[in-house]
Structures are given as C-alpha cells and as structure tokens.
C-alpha cells in the first residue's frame, strides 16, 4: 500500500482565532520504508499520525490509500490497483473496517484493555470482524518474536512499560497490516527496551510494511529510511 496525504491540515478554534495544529502538508508512506517523525511536544506530530491513521479527520485535504493487487489478498508486494481510496470519504463503518484490515496502530501511552490478558489483548483486533482460525498461533508467534511469550496469561497491570509496548506492537501486527503507525513507542523506556522496540519496528519495515514512527528519541534516526521534522505544524524533511 502507498499512503498519500495531499494538502492536509488541521485547525482548532482558539478564542476568536483559528489555531493550526497541522499546516497544509503533503506526505507519502510506502511499503518497506520506515519513516520517523520528530519534533517538540505540541508541534503537530500526533495530529499528522492520527489523520494518516484514519483516527482524526483533517480540516482540509485528503488521505489516499493506493492498494497493491497483492495487498488486497493479504500479501504486501504486488501491482498497483487502479483506484485509490480516499479515507475520509468513507463512512464510520467503512473506515473502521479499513483500519482493522490494513492498519496496525500503536497508540501513545498505556494502551491495553484492562480486563483482558496479554494473549487476549493481542488477539482482540483479530476478533472484531471475522476470526482467523490461526489467530491463536499467530498471536503466540508474535509474542515469541516480541519476547513476551511467558506473559500470555498476565494482565496489563502486571506488565512493565517495555512489556506493554511490545504487547502493543504485537497487537498492532496481529492483522498483518500494510501500514504500522507507532506514536511514541519508546517513551519512558530504558535504553535496552528502546533499542529493542526500534529494532522490531525496523524489522517490520524490512518485511515490506510501511512504518511511521512518531518519537522524541534521537536514536530512532539510526533505524529510519526517512526522517521528518515537525515544527509548529509545519513538516520538513530533516
């Protein structure tokens, strides 16, 4: 999948004026590439990620998802499909289904359903619509890959920050998405856990997925194909 944002912006009313969290921006995410987005707090990084991920509608512009033919049946590489999907022309039901089918999202901060175990949390996105018969095996494989296999029956409150992030990445990968979005996946982690998380994200990109990482961590540049800098809602290539 190639994800293209065309002239997207996002503004909020602030008093009698409009505040632009995101100024008019173009960006493209392509399979096999890891894009890192950096900038100060409040610079608009998460707003851009949310818009690209179909979580927050832009004030202007559009986000187009161009499928590869192979991508429609689950593989990553393939010929380009003729028509692109404008995400925000979809209704809520269609957009929700699109997110479930094509996106993996690692939200910022604590991101677990408290009543579910680690295994159940990871499997959850795979059970919202039809359930893949191999889902438990896929979840097990992902847990092993993330190094949290022995925590499958633990509950979120029992996890450390690093374990929680790895669980979030495993859950984002359970539907074998075309695009992976990760918002501050290494914040509050120690150096070892931070490197583990970025290495995993790099591996995912190397498998052909498009990966967008929003992070403050400067070391993320070492894993990236492209690094963007966000400043007061304006995006530029670093």
């Amino acid at each position: 999948m190639i994800l293209t944002a065309e002239k997207i912006s996002r503004s909020f009313p602030r008093g009698s004026r409009e505040f632009y969290a995101l100024q008019e921006t173009d960006i493209t995410l392509a399979g096999g590439r890891m894009t890192v987005l950096q900038g100060r707090s409040g610079s608009g990084k998460t707003t851009l990620l949310n818009i690209l991920a179909g979580l927050q509608s832009p004030s202007s512009g559009r986000v187009l998802a161009q499928m590869t033919r192979g991508a429609e049946d689950g593989s990553v590489q393939g010929e380009m499909a003729p028509a692109a999907t404008d995400l925000y022309s979809l209704d809520d039901k269609e957009l929700s289904r699109f997110r479930n089918d094509h996106y993996g999202i690692v939200p910022q901060g604590q991101s677990a359903v408290a009543a579910l175990s680690v295994l159940e949390n990871i499997m959850l996105p795979g059970t919202v619509y039809s359930q893949d018969v191999n889902l438990p095996e896929k979840a097990q494989a992902l847990m092993e890959r993330m190094g949290i296999a022995d925590l499958k029956n633990a509950f979120p409150k029992e996890l450390s920050g690093g374990e929680m992030r790895r669980m979030s990445i495993a859950r984002a990968m359970i539907r074998d998405p075309q695009v992976l979005f990760a918002d501050e996946p290494a914040s509050d982690l120690d150096d070892e856990n931070r490197d583990t998380v970025f290495s995993i994200l790099r591996e995912i990109a190397d498998e052909g997925k498009a990966v967008l990482v929003v992070t403050h961590e400067r070391c993320a540049r070492n894993y990236a194909d492209e690094v963007y800098q966000m400043d007061a809602g304006a995006l530029r290539l670093a």
Binding site: N50, L55, Q56, S96, R99, V113, A115, M123, L124
Partner: protein, 401 residues
Amino acid sequence: MKIFQKLPLLNILRRPVRSAVLLFMVAILSFTVFGGAVMVSGLRRGMASLEDRLGADIMVVPEEAAGKDGLESIVLQGNTGYFYMDDTRLEEILAVDGVSQAAPQIFLASLAASCCSAKVQLMGFDPQSDFTVLPWIRKSYAENLKEMEVVVGSDITSEEGDTLTFYDVDCTVAAKLTKTGTNYDRCVFAGADTIRVLTSSSIGKKLNQFSEIDPNHVISCVLVNTQDGADMDKVVSAINETVDGVTAVRTGSMVSGIAGSLNGISRIVRVMIIVVFVLAFIIMMIAFTMLINERRREFALLRVFGVSQGSLARSVWSEILLICLTGALIGVLAALLVTVPFSGALQGRMDMPMLMPGIASMLKYLLLAVLIAAAAGTLSSCWNVNRVCRADIGLALRLEK
C-alpha cells in the same frame, strides 16, 4: 465466542468489586419493585379472598361480640374465641323484610392443653342453610360431612384421615381446604351437630366460658344475604331494631378497614418504588458515568482497532444490560426468598389477609422488575454511551494518556 463479543462479560467477571456494586444497586431496585408488587398483589388477593369467604351481605352477632374483641378479632386478627346467642334469633332475622337467606354458625375455640390436639378456632355450620362455607368445602370435598368429621384449613398441619382431638372427643379429618390467605386457613370446620357435641364436652369439663348455655340451642352468628334490590343499610337497621340483643353489620364495613389499610400500603409501596427508582437512577447514572469515563481510553483503543461506533455502542450496551438483567434477577430472587416463605409472618404482622399471586402474576411482576431495571440502566447511561461512541478518537486518546 470471539474475544470482542465476550468483552462485556469479561469486563463484568474480571472487575468483581465494581460489578458487585453495580449489581447491588440494580438488585435493590428490582427487589423493591418486585417485592412491592407481590406484596400489594398478595394483600389485594387476600382481601378478595376474605370477601369471598365472608360471602354474605350482613353478619349478625351477639351485641357483646360486635367490634374488635368479637367477630373481627376472630376473622381479621386470627384470634380464637366464641360467643353465643339463642337460636331463636335466626327465625327473627329471617322474618325481617329484605332478608332472603340466613345461615347460622357456631364457634368454639379449642385449648392448648392435653384435652385438645391444638389451639384452633372451630367453626360449625348448618349444612341445610349454609351458603358461605359449603361452596368452599365443595372445592376440596364432595361428600356430605358425617358426624365427628371435620375439614381443616390449609395451614393446619393435619392431613386427610388424621384424627384431631377436641375436649377429649376424637374427630376425623375428612379433607383439607384450599388456601385463602386469610385467618380461615387456621380454622377447623365441622357440621353444627359435631360442634354441639364438642361444645357439650367443653362445658362438661368446665372448660367453656359459657357454662349456662344449652349447646343444642345456641348459635354464634348469622350470615345474611339480602333480596335483590333491597337496601342493605335498611335491612341492617331493621335487624338491629327488631331483633333483641344482636348487632348486624354489613360485611363490607368489616373489610372496609382492611381496604383502607390496603390502599394506604399500596400508596406507600408506590411512593417507595418511585423513591428507590429515582435514587437508583441517580446512583446508577453516577456509577455508569464513572465507569464510562474511567474507560474512555479503552473505548478509544477499541475504535483504533477498527471497532465502529455502532459496534462499540452495542458492546457497551451489552455490558450495561447484562449488569441490569443479572442485578434484576438477583433482586427478584431475594424478594421471592423474603415474600414467599415469610408471607404468613407478613400477614400476621399486618393483621391483613394475604394470598400470594399465582405463577402467571409472578412472571408478570418479574418482567416488570426486569424492564424497570433495564430502563433505569439504559436511561441513566444513554447520554454517556452516545458521547463516548461519537468521541473523536484522536482527541480521546490524547486526553486520556
């Protein structure tokens, strides 16, 4: 079942303290609704049953037996007692204008002593003229009662074929009557001849307060039906004026006190249900608001995973309805455990007849309690559910980091 579909149930099971508090709130509401409805219905049925059992327009008793210490004490408070008047009063009553039927009854109370099986109220009726007791007995026993045969109310522990002894005279239990929910359930009934034999024996043993009476020529009360179109108040006045030493009362006035109390209780129960509903509604609204606010980030996460607004709303509603339905059933069960086994004690406490509603009515009240609990749950949380399902996902995730 898939994890997403099981999520409402898992949220309830794996957060036991929070779930228990919510279930308790709903259970209190349904306990009040169901228990209140069953109690009022039981009292209304008991009242109808009592009117049915009294079965006459007018009752005539000796002057000294009128009022709380006499007939009403026996019929309404379930006390034992007896009083007598000469049986010639029956002919005099029958001669009063407007009287179409008159049937005598003879009372006797047994003792909690070695001469008697138990302390119960004994009621004798004349099979030739009776129109109140016999139709009731006919539902349980088709034969004519022979001498020294009795039928017992449903609360008497004896069964058909058992022998009961009163004043050292053995009587055979011919049948057991169907439950009425009134104090008649604790009475023993017999033909007039049998009661006269028992009365003679009680006098012979010097165990009867009225040692001077001739048991073969006394009666305790006369039940009167008036002719069609007759003015009952005028018939009552005529009996009181023309028959010496008696007091006639309309049976309606005997039960009017109960009817008044019953209306009072119904009003109290209605007010109680409204107060509990309002309180439960407010507490549930606060509880569900807290529950939903506490989990706003979780709901936003579900949206991130691709759960649509509609699916999220269904999931949250399922959880709320599961709590409401389970809580309602717990409340109904608790109310059943209180009202059914203790209906006799409630009846005694309130000095009012009580006949528990049948299965169909119980099911109706159960449905009512469940619907009210579900309505309270959904109404108290609908605004919050709607708010959380329609929230901007990006903003919700930022606010709830």
